[in-house]
Symmetry: C2
Subunit: 329 residues, 2 copies
């Protein structure tokens, strides 16, 4: 059923070495090369990756490890990684950890035993397995979360994101802007708080630290956080949702409470393809998720290609999206 280089060699009347060379871009006389290609096509031959991997010690597959396949932010990243990878001849395996360290470790182990070329990971934390994977000299690019792993990183300027979202609300006249952010152990969640604080400071306004609530960067947690925020009795007339899913949760609670924009200010860090279903005016801070994926994959491929040197960090900038709906045609 499946043909191998021997079959092709026989059909083309050359040695297997020649066939191999043709498929690896090495010098072969034109006529022989043509004979090989013809035979290969005729036999529907395609090189066996397992054998190649076994021989070469690494495959042309890279793993992308993300916390949640159902979050558009991460799938956008995935597309970016895929784009770059494909261009360079690599396939991408998408691995979903559900925020569980154990699953992350499991995928790392698979990456090892499958001899994968490298890993792009949205790290959950500095887990032993991740640390040792990096330490073992394998190729890793961390993305979205700062962790001092000693690996290359592609990050977001989260402080700027927090500042932009909060600033827009303050500039719109709101004075008590709350923040529903994520788990404080995540640099992304943490930095957005710093940005939130900075927005007040830059305008000479006083900060009320009780207006920060930590959710889980998911819908359910954001709902709870938003309820808590409204329940404290503290004065509040606007809120920044720390990420896209938090935006949904927070908005649901607000809508139910009848406190909707524009009376109550609302901004989301991150984007939802779905935001435009809501007629309310929502401030959105766009995050270059896809671009991050592209750059991460590029860095990884670069390393695989033998690029040495210490860990590099690339930080991308967010941008305020126009309030106008973007699909006007």
């Amino acid at each position: 059923m499946t043909s191998n280089i021997h079959d092709v060699a026989a059909a083309a009347g050359v040695s297997i070495a020649t066939v191999s060379r043709v498929f690896n871009g090495q010098r072969v006389s034109p006529d022989r090369a043509k004979r090989v290609r013809d035979a290969a096509r005729r036999l529907n031959f395609s090189p066996n990756r397992a054998a190649r991997t076994l021989r070469r010690k690494h495959s042309e597959v890279i793993a992308l490890i993300i916390p949640d396949v159902e979050n558009p932010y991460f799938t956008a990243m995935a597309r970016g990684v895929e784009d770059s990878a494909q261009r360079a001849g690599y396939s991408v395996v998408l691995c979903n950890t559900d925020d569980q360290d154990e699953k992350e470790s499991q995928y790392l182990r698979i990456a090892v035993s499958e001899n994968m070329a490298g890993v792009v990971v949205v790290p959950n934390g500095p887990t032993p397995d991740l640390l040792s994977y990096v330490a073992s000299g394998r190729h890793v690019v961390a993305i979205d979360r700062q962790l001092d792993l000693g690996a290359d990183e592609v990050l977001l300027d989260n402080v700027a994101a927090g500042r932009m979202a909060t600033g827009a609300l303050l500039d719109a006249g709101h004075r008590h802007v709350g923040l529903v952010t994520g788990p404080s152990h995540l640099s992304s969640a943490h930095d957005r708080v710093i940005g939130w604080r900075a927005a007040y400071g830059e305008r000479g306004l006083e900060v009320d630290e009780t207006l920060v609530e930590h959710g889980d960067f998911r819908v359910a947690g954001a709902r709870e956080a938003m309820r808590a925020l409204l329940g404290t009795g503290a004065e509040i007339d606007a809120v920044v949702a720390g990420n896209n899913l938090s935006g949904i949760g927070a908005f649901q609670v607000l809508a139910r409470a009848g406190t909707v924009p524009p009376a109550f200010g609302f901004a989301i860090i991150g984007d939802l393809p779905f935001t435009t279903m809501v007629s309310a005016r929502i401030t959105r801070v766009g995050l270059p998720a896809r671009e991050m994926g592209i750059r991460a994959a590029d860095m990884l491929i670069d390393r695989i290609g033998g690029h040495g040197g210490g860990p590099r960090t690339l930080t991308l900038q967010p941008e305020i999206l126009p309030v106008e709906e973007d699909w006007t045609v």
Copy 2:
């Protein structure tokens, strides 16, 4: 760096055959097995998948080929496939085709040269590559779209889905219920039209065929279709969105036109984790995407395990979701 069974065998004082047997669950005396396990742990050994694949003729990875990673419907499927696969010891490679036949073919080729155990595919159409992949006797389960490939299928009762959504609107008193569906070459899009038509028929109502518009099952196409529907001048007081993304597009156009529920009836076949952001009362027909993924993977694994016989078809049922927001706690 990476140890192999020889190292383990030496460390444990046994033959490599014994090591192999331990790792494949074959009978080995308890004490020797323990020695092997200890040595393996000490050496941080994990079996080389490339070698195993080369030898066994197939790997423990299955490919899931979907048209759009950013569509929650397909990512929900992906989670289902992942769940089943993982339980059976398989990894899943997520492949995104963007509705392009060529990309689908490419992934199929990769599946071959990587010796993947099998493929779960949301087929674009009966392309030559897909047909020949199936014909070559490899394991395939088609999902979501009916195509007569000669492979196992996991489908949805799309006629029922169309009927339910349309019926709910008719029963709510609307009399001119339109339909924004997908490309007519997709069985899913086509069958939903049949269901739409049936809902009228069952109630003894007359059908106005001009109220069906074919989009592309994506947001942009649905916007156009919805505009077209409103622009015909035909009487229309409600609409069924043929899938989740169409729901967004159609709703955007409606909202802008000021024709919103409940005055204008609106139903979506499919679900959006995001629908609840909208205060409008929207009828939703829930689709068991995750379940479909689970069943598809189960069928595939079953085949891989040697289950013979002709192609099987499994059809799952949709269900009307309560209009109440489902996150009430």
